[in-house]
Amino acid sequence: MTDPILALLLYQLADDELVIGHRDSEWLGLAPHIEEDIAFGSIAQDEVGHATAFYRLLSDLGLGVADDLAFLRGAAERRNAVLLERPNGAGTYLQDPAFDWGYTVARRLAYDLFDAIRLECIASGCSYQPLAQLAGKIRREERYHLLHHVTWFKRLAEGTEESRRRLVAGIEQTFLDAGGLFVMTPSDYFPTTSAALLERWTAELRPQFDAVGLPWPLVMPAPALDGRAGQHTADLSALLETMGEVYRTAPGAAW
């Protein structure tokens, strides 16, 4: 039987990547300029590609077909952090998308840094070899995501008054949910604690704030909803409704 602790870790990884990849993909055609549209499109593809690889590991453990795991599980079964399911802004990708680039950059930076640390920990210390190897491979791509969003963070912080204000608003909004990222269970597969993760994350992010003269948000509230335990917002239900709409019409069929 599969160790439920390993399965939970894989679900957390897969669901995090799929949900943020979905949100990123909603920006297609709507990014601030054409070059960014292309770059952000790459990042969205990477995330969905990573999710696919994690779902395949679950599939290899006999837990179901990767597409079923991605498209058919309900919100209460999802293990992604709530931060990643929040919409990109008002409206939807189809109707009046008043998407917020300030929030998008702040959220991506918070998540990319967290993900980089998480993957490093798995690559170097996970006792389940297929996952350790996959994490090592994925880290190489995630490095560029982090670099991309650090660059955006600086540009917005040092751009105009408006861009700085919008970035700060995005950071504040991100910090409301960011604590939920760190709710991870220590194990042989993930040999670290939430506190150690958070400490490392803070140690790496804070100098970025100092460098552009932005105040470090002192408060990171405990998450109101624990996404890792299946507690989610209505936004995730709506996202899953959209994502599985076509697949659910004929789940066993070839598409």
Partner: protein, 313 residues
């Protein structure tokens, strides 16, 4: 050298099949017509991302989601490549990228007729990838010999990538054609919906528009609308039939005597309406583009400092 002598030299180069480069002397007529053509091509690629990106969040498998995202990204990439070529050529006219893109939003620059149409089902995403991109490759491959070197070179990459898009679209259509009765029906309905647009895609057979004449004169284009449409039929009609699909035109047939495909004329007034941005989804798609442009203006301002804002788009 007089203007006439320069022009004669230029035409001699064109006739010898030489490539014109961005820094070469060229008549204004050549420059202006090409900028307009490439501007429309580039912005059509950008607008072409919108009908398909509607289906990325709903793509029914992880693999389809990945390949559709990659395709949409390619289209934006083509828009960017061609826009760069157009920008270079437009520079002596005092036109920036901001203006080239801005003319889409004001309706001065048109975008291709197919991207004004709705894509209401997943099968539409398949038909767009397979047949709309198929039609695009037929018309773009005919421009690989274009007299304007930078455009011809960029098109080589565009056509190579479009080749993958056709495979991506054909694979979606094949899965549906071999699927459940509902999937097959969805595919046939999507073909019914797109058939007329595919005919309109190549333009009327008897076009004598001023710009078409100029493009031919300078060997930017060498094939007529009807030649390209017939070529599209040659290539895709047998494949459509082999998937067990019906072409939604009872009069459609191969005319052995004329050695050409006979088809019912589409409603050409629809193309005129689309050219006025009065197609079914013209205003909706332009609205999305305009909204995203306005929503992210502050980002571009931050990149350039307020003074230079708008120099990228």
């Amino acid at each position: 050298m007089t203007h006439e002598e320069r022009l004669a030299q230029f035409m001699a180069r064109i006739e010898r099949g030489e490539k014109i480069e961005s820094t070469d002397w060229m008549p204004d007529e050549y420059r202006i017509t090409l900028v307009k053509f490439m501007q429309m091509h580039a912005l059509s690629e950008v607008m072409g991302a919108l009908p398909e990106k509607e289906w990325v969040p709903k793509a029914p498998t992880l693999a389809r989601k990945l390949s559709l995202m990659a395709k949409v990204q390619d289209e934006m990439g083509h828009g960017q490549l061609i826009l760069r070529v157009a920008e270079d050529l437009a520079k002596p006219l005092g036109k920036s990228r901001e203006e080239l893109v801005g003319e889409l939003l004001t309706g001065v620059c048109k975008f291709h007729n197919v991207f004004h149409m709705p894509a209401p089902t997943w099968a539409d995403a398949g038909i767009i990838g397979w047949l709309v991109d198929g039609a695009a490759v037929v018309s773009q491959a005919a421009l690989l010999d274009s007299s304007y070197g930078p455009y011809a070179r960029v098109l080589q990459r565009v056509c190579a990538e479009e080749g993958f898009h056709i495979q991506h679209g054909e694979s979606i259509c094949l899965a549906l054609a071999e699927g459940t009765p509902e999937q097959r029906q969805m595919l046939q309905e999507a073909l019914n919906r797109w058939w007329e647009s595919l005919l309109l895609f190549f333009g009327p057979a008897d076009t004598n528009s001023a710009s078409a004449t100029i493009l031919m004169k300078y060997r930017f284009r060498t094939k007529t609308n009807e030649e390209l449409r017939q070529k599209f039929f040659d290539k895709y009609v047998p494949r459509i039939w082999s998937l067990g699909l019906t072409i939604p035109d009872p009069d459609f047939r191969w005319n052995e005597a004329a050695q050409r495909w006979h088809y019912t004329q589409p409603d050409w007034t629809k193309l005129k309406a689309i050219a006025r941005n009065e197609g079914p989804l013209s205003q909706y798609r332009l609205g999305l583009r305009r909204m995203s442009y306005e929503q992210t203006k502050w980002v571009r301002e931050a990149l350039l400092g307020k003074a230079g804002a708008g120099a990228i788009a």
